[in-house]
């Protein structure tokens, strides 16, 4: 049981380039989330999804897009990368049917993204 898997683990981009971060979970969770973590700022929610085909904005959505075409996958896209998007990105998932939606989140190990 892999839990939450993020790919890639590390990437360096040039300003203006685009890329997609992939998150996959094998726990049949309904909810999935993308966070960024910066020193002194804690975890900040970028976008989230409450089920296949749904997405919603979090606290810091600007410059990012997401898609949830399959229940087990949640993609985070950067259309035109900027140095301010240098960060560690974490994906999380939670809530299986029959549980409370307030169930704790399970996190991946992060993608370290540097934008030059």
């Amino acid at each position: 049981n892999a839990g939450v898997t993020q790919t890639p683990k590390f990437r360096v981009l040039k300003t203006g380039q685009s890329m997609t971060l992939l998150c996959a979970q094998d726990m049949n969770h309904e909810y999935m989330y993308w966070y960024r973590q910066d020193p002194g700022m804690g975890l900040r929610l970028i976008h989230y999804s409450v089920g296949e085909g749904t997405t919603a904005k979090g606290e810091v959505p600007d410059g990012y897009n997401v898609s949830r075409l399959k229940k087990q996958n949640f993609l985070l896209g950067l259309e035109s990368a900027a140095p301010s998007q240098t960060s560690v990105y974490f994906c999380a998932s939670s809530y299986s049917r029959g549980e409370s939606p307030s169930q704790p989140q399970h996190f991946g190990d992060g993608t370290r993204l540097s934008i030059l």
């Binding site: 804690g42 975890l43 704790p104 399970h106």
Partner: protein
């Protein structure tokens, strides 16, 4: 003012000490309270999960919630160097409200031998 406040530390203690980590919050609707541990270059992992007020114990760890004071704590007894990590508190409201947890900024703990 953030909904959840947490001192970033670092908190440095000798091995064997009792550690107290704390968060305060402003939203009285929070009823689920969580503590996550995050090792360097890893994702957060759930350590303790409590509902409503009171204490919950799991081995060397005790989570305490005081809803009247809007204050939660995590106590670590007989701390070990392997406990060195960042500890994040998180909290959410019950189903039917906002299920998105609100995180504190994390407290860095260093346990030295």
């Amino acid at each position: 003012q953030k909904e959840v406040e947490q001192d970033p530390g670092p908190l440095s203690v000798p091995e064997g000490a009792i550690v107290s980590l704390n968060c305060t919050y402003s939203n009285s609707a929070f009823q689920y309270f969580m503590w996550y541990r995050q090792y360097s270059r890893k994702g957060p992992e759930l350590l303790m999960y409590t509902y409503s007020s009171g204490n919950k114990e799991d081995g060397r760890f005790t989570a305490q919630v005081d809803k009247s004071s809007k204050y939660i704590s995590l106590f670590i007894r007989d701390s070990q160097p392997s406990d060195s990590a960042t500890y994040l508190c998180a909290m959410s409201v019950p189903s039917g409200g906002s299920y998105i947890p609100t995180f504190g900024r994390g407290t860095s703990l260093i346990v030295h031998p």
